[in-house]
């Protein structure tokens, strides 16, 4: 049978998706536990999420949350650092700790047969870290040198300046890794204090996903975490929800990197919190503007002009206010032209050149038809659950996602674009060869400020 190559095959919407339904329970000591039965490979992921992220860093102790997270696994319970990692590795398990702005996640993935042992190791790391002075100082010194290393990486410089500028004076106003000067003054006592104050059941949630029954997962959780207590400092609501006052619209910060063959670019602004009512309009708008390969900005800068290997836009959603950002790295002689095109695309989609019905359909289809892929592995499911918990998403969130994306219309997209991507509200960071880019950039944005970064 020969194929009709005069037109593309239609896409049929078929196949039923069984979305994960976390069973939500609470242990006797008050720790919430979500379990998801997921048959794929004989593995289980356990993730303990704690509201002890970088936004909890005390002023002048930026980096303490991440330092604490990093030192958790350098000796815990009965084991020193080496014995602990030997025990994890011998199970065939792997441990990862991630400190984000809103929370710290400790993730252990193991073979299903070793679920109880892995749960105990996770509980040791989360609840009984040793924080020996020697180890804490070692980790601190490594992190300080890491910060120094990041000064050589253009994308890291741009990222840091963008975040520090956008959220200045706000608990989100620094990267998780912190500041060198602040870290210099921190030691084991600070880390122990931070841990006592924040790693408690009232700030935590345990998620268990994998090839095991709800009962098995719950039993493992109860055996390992049954004695976990409350944190000394309950979470202060409202602290991170306030809006920073960023007065930088129209400003471009230029950080010199003499001789650089490319300029690293960020263009963006403060964004909505994850709880924003226009969340779905915003993600559909972003998919059309710059969230995908076929989005407007990438087609323009890469596929039409060849200025870059790629450009993306995105919302950084958080519990408190987030960010909207367009990011790319472009050849030096196209720096000003690229910033100009980015601003133009951001303006057009909200005013003058709204999404066409086919662009809207494309953006929606990409988000909805691609949705099942987010639930393939235990880790992915655990991550989705983590977000649902952290952002307080409704119980039927996964089930209603597709319908809510489909409900977005052209007017809603245009409105979201005008609200979150309007060029007059944007500021920019460029890390590049000042001698070759400054003059032209002055014609692109109202103010160009050269800084040290």
């Amino acid at each position: 049978m020969s194929i009709d190559r005069s037109r593309l095959p239609f896409v049929r919407d078929e196949g039923a998706l069984h979305l994960p339904r976390p069973q939500r329970q609470v242990l006797d000591n008050g720790l919430p536990v979500w379990t998801v039965e997921h048959e794929n490979v004989p593995m289980v992921s356990l993730v303990l999420v704690t509201r002890a992220g970088a936004s909890e860093d005390p002023v002048d102790a930026e980096g303490l949350a991440a330092l604490t997270a990093d030192a958790l696994d350098d000796g815990a319970g009965e084991r020193d650092a080496f014995a602990l990692h030997d025990a994890i590795a011998s199970l065939g398990a792997s441990l990862e700790i991630d400190c984000g702005p809103d929370a710290t996640a400790i993730d252990i993935t193991t073979l299903a047969a070793t679920l109880p042992e892995a749960a105990h190791l996770l509980a040791d790391v989360a609840c009984r870290p040793r924080f020996d002075a020697n180890e804490v100082e070692r980790v601190r010194d490594l992190r300080r040198q890491r910060i120094a290393q990041m000064r050589d990486v253009p994308s890291a410089i741009a990222e840091r300046v963008f975040v520090e500028t956008l959220f200045e004076g706000h608990p989100y106003g620094h990267l998780s890794m912190g500041r060198d000067l602040a870290l210099a003054g921190l030691g084991a006592d600070d880390v122990r204090g931070f841990h006592r104050a924040r790693y408690g059941i009232d700030r935590s949630l345990l998620i268990v996903v994998g090839e095991a029954s709800h009962a098995e997962m719950r039993t493992a959780a109860a055996d390992a975490f049954g004695t976990m207590g409350p944190s000394q400092e309950p979470l202060v609501r409202g602290r991170i929800e306030r809006m920073p006052t960023s007065g930088l619209a129209g400003t471009l910060l230029l950080i010199d990197r003499p001789g650089a063959p490319q300029s690293e670019i960020r263009v963006g602004r403060l964004g909505p919190a994850r709880s924003t009512p226009d969340y779905f309009a915003s993600i559909v708008m972003n998919a059309a503007l710059g969230g995908q390969f076929v989005s407007r900005i990438n087609l323009n800068l890469r596929e039409d002009k060849g200025f870059t290997y790629g450009v993306r836009s995105g919302f950084d959603f958080r519990v408190g206010p987030g960010a909207f950002v367009v990011q790319t790295s472009v050849q030096t002689d196209a720096t000003a032209a690229s910033v100009r095109e980015i601003l133009r695309e951001c303006g057009d989609i909200g005013d003058g050149r709204p999404v066409t019905p086919s662009e809207l359909a494309m953006a929606q289809a990409a988000l909805t038809r691609g949705y099942p892929r987010s639930f393939e592995t235990g880790d992915q499911i655990a991550r989705s659950c983590m977000q649902a918990a952290l952002y307080g998403l409704p119980d039927d969130y996964f089930e209603t996602y597709v319908a809510r994306v489909r409900a977005v219309d052209v007017a809603a997209v245009t409105q979201a674009a005008a609200r979150w991507a309007s060029p007059a509200d944007l500021f920019a960071v460029v890390v590049g060869d000042r001698a070759r880019v400054e003059e032209e950039l002055r014609g692109v944005m109202p103010r160009v400020v050269v800084t040290q970064g």
Partner: protein, 434 residues
Amino acid sequence: MQIVFEKRTLANGLDVIVHEDRDLPIVAVNVWYHVGSKNERPGLTGFAHLFEHLMFEGSAHHDHGYFPPLQEAGASLNGSTNADRTNYWEVVPVGALDRALWMESDRMGWLLPALTQEKLDNQRDVVLNERRQNYENRPYGLAQIAIAHALYPPTHSYYWPTIGDVADIRAATLDDVSAFFARYYHPANASLTIAGDVEATRAFELAEQYFGAIPAGPLVDPVVPPPVDLVADSRLVLEDRVEFPRLYLAWHSPALFADGDAECDLLADLLSNGKTSRLFRSLVHERRIALDVAAYQSSRELAGMFQVIATAAAGVSLEALRAGIDDGLRAMAASGPTIAEMTRARAQAESGFVQRLQTIGGFSGKSDQLNAYNIFLDDPGAFGRDLARYRAATADGVRRAAGSLVEAPRVALSIVPRGRRDLALQGAVEAVAS
């Protein structure tokens, strides 16, 4: 552990492999072409990769870019090129399988009529920007190019980087590119895997319908590399915009699946993977002379390369790092790993294999592995055979792998801050890295 699959070869030589996995309503389509930068020649480097880019720019019956119809279908898709092979994949909702196969087959069979100078010029610019971003404007970004130039003779396919030389990328003509396609991009030099929520019978029917009519091209002769022989240690230095000096040690090692390859993998794991690994423990944790250390066995079709990389902590000399690494290697060469270390390394290898079974598609998912084993071993089911290599490896085998590193000549590359050549290992000469 095994992946259940079925393989058939179409009349035009295309291998088709099907694996059913009905967990989610999605299907992975994965195509490997057995061509990479190893098939290029000096002066014409970077073609395989540049070509990968052009494969996303449209084909005769759909000449408007490869991404839109698939993203509209909810697909995730990508491609990649290395020295040995080029792969392309889509993961689509089951209702879009026809469309994915239509698109893949159209670019396998009918790419050239849609290829234009304009597309070539545009993607050449994109690739040059990819090179700037990943090599030239990245700290330590030129290290691997310098090492390959020192390890292999200029006529060896692994001498040049897959991204290619800038001059060659600039000089590529439409004729060159077309000839490259005709020689390497055809069913007899490719392998198609369909994995996911589809019945095997239907998957084979679809493969025949979409790909059956594409004519087979010329068989590709295996690349016969010149002998590699590093007769003496080579000490090199590169200045870069970096804060901390870094040392790279590189050796020739067994090729992919050759004797000793798995032992080198386990050795690398024991040296630097995780906090209990030997070099991490001694250099980073206890002595604090390194910020990081990484060892890995990079085995490819024609040859392997073993590397140890470490970044010096503030004020520490690269000579101290070198001595620390050599101490670690000598200790391993003298007494080999402990029983506990071997148990741990095997457990890690085993769970690594299981983890790669979690996804049907993408880089390193099941469909990609079936194609890899088919292309390299002519046996998509070599999964168990591959794992058996790690199960069979002995402590003495790992000890011998370490021993061969201690004995053999190597390339030692120092990357130092600009103007600080004095921080390189003694006697280092300027590396070639362009």
